[in-house]
């Protein structure tokens, strides 16, 4: 009886795939349906932004930050502007800080709605949750368009403030949205979280232990789902977050379901923050004047914010010229992908796909 020759199956979840969230490639070694090894290949969206930014002034670099994490452009802008302001010692007026907080939290709701929807898409619910969540995202993007003219790559924050003040129709529309959102979030929770099929798929799959999470510099909802309470808005407050009263949701064991829970609850907390910020919004200037080609003193600065994906940080080194000497992005999506292999080895192909979906990466930020 001849020996049956068996070899593991190497499947390429290639750059073109319906659910790799962008051009991301995984070379997966399978034993039947079980994952034995995962190798990540990235760089299909590498646009060398760090090198390009060294040739442009600090203000000219702001549109780059839109296009890194293109689904949450406001927070990308904000982190960069905070880093430049720290480097150059620029003060931001109070109205601008409140506006920054409002738009960051609106962007967080939009991003989490999309993330949860796409995660459900990966689980197999044919676009139904996405369509429901996109209704609120459309309203938020309308608010963005009315303020700065763009829906996706907003380019809204400037060094020293924001670029435009909010128009008159912003406040009534934003207040109406904030009144309506908690009911919608409760509706989504009721429809999605108790579903047995979703629980059977998402519980106990893609588990990330807490100590591996810390050693891998994982941040954001992925870190909070492992049970560690860490949020830059509470630990290292920027803008006016120290005046806002909100909670941070924390998960239990770091599986896919916990990440879903954390994102759902963060949307609700963002509504709380927006409501407080809209009430407390002071009048005043929305930007300080800075020179056209800002020349910060020689030095370096690292500023970080809590973006919807995790801790987004910018490390800027200045040599006194109008352009940065070194522009480095501490990208949350890239670092959240670090433990992907440990999270998925031993599980099936289906779990690999939804684990990748629940980490919520954005390839523009991974590859820069």
């Amino acid at each position: 009886m001849p020996e049956l020759r068996t070899e593991p199956l190497v499947v390429n979840f290639g750059p073109q795939h319906p659910s790799t969230h962008g051009v991301f490639r995984m070379r997966v070694v399978l034993d039947g349906e079980r994952v034995v090894d995962v190798e990540m290949v990235m760089g299909y969206l590498h646009r060398s932004m760090e090198k390009l930014a060294e040739e442009r002034t600090y203000t000219q670099n702001i549109p780059f930050t839109d296009r890194m994490d293109y689904l949450s452009a406001m927070t990308g802008n904000l982190a960069y502007c905070l880093a430049v302001e720290k480097l150059a010692g620029i003060e931001v007026p109070e109205r601008a800080q409140y506006l920054r907080v409002i738009f960051s939290e609106l962007q967080r709701i939009a991003n989490h709605g999309m993330a949860i929807g796409i995660f459900m898409n990966d689980c197999g619910a044919w676009q139904t949750p996405v369509m429901y969540m996109l209704r609120e995202r459309e309203k938020i993007l309308d608010l963005f368009e009315m303020t700065c003219g763009a829906r996706l790559t907003t380019n809204y924050m400037r060094i020293g403030g924001v670029s435009f003040d909010i128009p008159e129709e912003f406040m009534p529309q934003a207040t109406a949205l904030v009144e309506e959102l908690p009911d919608r979030i409760a509706e989504y929770e009721g429809l999605l979280l108790e579903n047995e099929i979703l629980q059977a798929r998402a519980r106990d799959t893609g588990i990330l232990p807490a100590d591996l999470a810390i050693a891998s510099s994982v941040s954001g909802p992925v870190l909070r789902s492992t049970g560690i309470a860490w949020d830059i808005r509470k630990a290292d407050p920027y803008c006016v977050y120290d005046r806002m009263d909100f909670d941070i949701p924390v998960g239990y064991q770091g599986d896919n379901y916990d990440r879903l829970l954390v994102r759902m609850e963060e949307m609700r907390q963002s509504v709380r923050i927006i409501r407080q910020a809209l009430e407390q919004l002071p009048p005043g200037p929305f930007k300080t004047d800075i020179p056209l080609a800002l020349r910060p003193p020689v030095g370096e600065a690292y500023a970080r914010i809590e973006s919807p994906k995790g801790e987004l940080g910018f490390y800027l080194v200045s040599d006194g010229g109008p352009t940065p000497y070194r522009f480095h992005v501490r990208s949350p999506s890239l670092l959240n992908l670090t433990p992907l292999k440990e999270m998925t080895v031993g599980q099936t192909v289906a779990d690999l796909v939804i684990t990748l979906g629940s980490i919520d990466i954005n390839l523009g930020e991974v590859d820069r």
Binding site: L9, V10, V11, N12, H17, P18, S19, G32, E33, M120, N121, D122, C123, G124, A125, W126, Q127, T128, M131, Y132, R135, E189, L193, E194, N195, E196, I197, L198, Q199, A200, R201, R203, A210, D211, I214, G227, I228, A229, W230, D231, K234, A235, D247, I248, P249, V250, G251, Y252, D258, L261, V262, M264, E265, T348, V349, A350, D351, V353
Partner: protein
């Protein structure tokens, strides 16, 4: 073939066989014997083929509009009024695309697979009673024929996946075999429960039994209907059990490499299979063309098609709402949950029939009693078996824990724990 009767005029379209039988009796008078057989086969076959083709085309529109409504959007409304010409647009697009052939695949098997997939989808329609006496072939082993024909699909889908020479298709094909084989067993056992009560495997005989007893078999065998519905959803690869062609994981499973009209055939097969499953359920469980005597005014075949669309709507509803299960969960569900329930259902049904025949009770007394008993037992068994086999998830919290302040250890105190 039945001999012509002198009763109904040929234009009585409540029973389409009137017209056909007038024609056949005329042919019988004027031609040789074999001509009648040939002409009746041709008429029936063409009618069924046209019906299947028409429903495949119409269902493209129905499915897309209904799924869109579930998803809070409109669906196709550009091609023609209310998007009614959308199926024609889709078919034209698929027909004019290049039908690719993978170079390293097996060309003969690759080209045969879509055609063979359409075979069972078409063949199964031959035994359905569209009305009283309107069955193409009234086999007296109709149920067995249906089961046998639909199980050909398994090997055909594996042919499609294997010959594509593509790892995604291979994964899809392997999943198809595992899943379709596992779900056939509870399906057969559920259908056996129906046969037990009706006493015959002939589909028109089952409808006649329901007509005589004035009760739907759905009420007498609710557990069988539930098991049949779930197994049939798995057999036709629809969500929540469409793991074999899971778009978000293995692109398109066994039909990844197909394009053009070959893909169009697979897509049409999926729709026609859904209709076939719906019509099996309508015939066996909901009385087919009989609706408590309403078929004196509304033709029986219209009632039948209405019931089919009602059950098809249930299938679309499931598709639009539920996420999909993983393959090992599906296997566990079939073998550990559905199979024991189907066996219990069979035993209970046999016991009931035995009691009925042994003590020679009247049907009017016994059948409502059985309905009530069976309905309550269905609920009890499903809930109880679920509790016994249930996952522990129901005890875990389903909302995140809220923390207001970050716990920071003071500089002097020792740090403890993992975080």
């Amino acid at each position: 073939m039945t001999l012509p009767g002198p009763l109904a005029p040929w234009y009585d379209f409540r029973d389409l066989s009137n017209a056909v039988e007038r024609l056949l009796s005329w042919l019988n008078d004027i031609g040789p014997d074999w001509l009648v057989y040939v002409v009746s086969a041709l008429i029936g076959g063409t009618a069924i083929f046209l019906f299947v083709a028409a429903t495949a085309v119409a269902n493209i529109w129905v499915e897309r509009r209904v799924v869109a409504r579930i998803q809070v959007r409109r669906g196709p409304n550009r091609a023609g009024p209310w998007g009614l010409l959308q199926p024609i647009a889709d078919m034209t697009k698929l027909m004019q695309k290049e039908a690719l052939l993978p170079r390293a695949g097996d060309p003969v098997v690759f080209l045969l697979a879509p055609i063979l997939a359409f075979g069972p989808a078409l063949l199964v329609w031959g035994v359905f009673p569209f009305g009283e006496g309107m069955t193409f072939v009234d086999l007296n082993v109709g149920v067995l024929y249906i089961i046998a024909v639909t199980s050909v699909t398994t090997i055909v889908l594996f042919m499609a996946g294997w010959s594509s020479n593509n790892k995604y298709s291979l994964l899809g094909a392997m999943r198809v075999i595992a899943m379709l084989l596992s779900y056939e067993i509870p399906l057969v056992l559920a259908l056996l429960g129906v046969v037990l009560f009706a006493g015959t495997m002939s589909l028109s005989g089952i409808v006649a039994w329901q007509q005589d007893m004035r009760i739907w078999l759905f009420l007498v065998q609710p557990l069988a209907f539930a098991i049949y519905f779930i197994c049939a959803t798995a057999e036709i690869n629809r969500t929540p059990t469409d793991i074999a062609e899971a778009e978000s994981e293995i692109v398109a499973g066994y039909h990844t490499e197909y394009s053009g009209i070959q893909f169009g055939l697979f897509y049409a097969v999926e729709l026609v299979n859904a209709m076939a499953v719906a019509s099996i359920a309508a015939t066996l469980f909901f009385g087919g063309w009989w609706l408590f005597g309403l078929d004196r005014w509304i033709p029986g075949w219209i009632i039948f098609i209405g019931k089919i669309y009602f059950i098809y709507f249930l299938l679309i509803w499931l598709r639009g709402t539920l996420p999909r299960l993983r393959i090992d969960q599906l296997m566990a569900f079939a073998w550990k949950f559905l199979l024991p329930l189907a066996l219990v259902n069979l035993m209970l049904g046999a016991l009931e029939v035995l009691l009925w025949l042994e003590y020679d009770l009247s049907a009017g007394l016994v059948l409502p009693l059985f309905s009530v008993v069976n309905l309550s037992l269905t609920v009890l068994l499903i809930v109880g078996w679920m509790r016994l086999m249930a996952f522990r998830f129901q005890q875990l919290p389903s909302r995140a824990r809220l923390v207001h302040d970050i716990p920071v250890v003071a500089p002097g105190a020792p740090a403890g724990g993992a975080a």
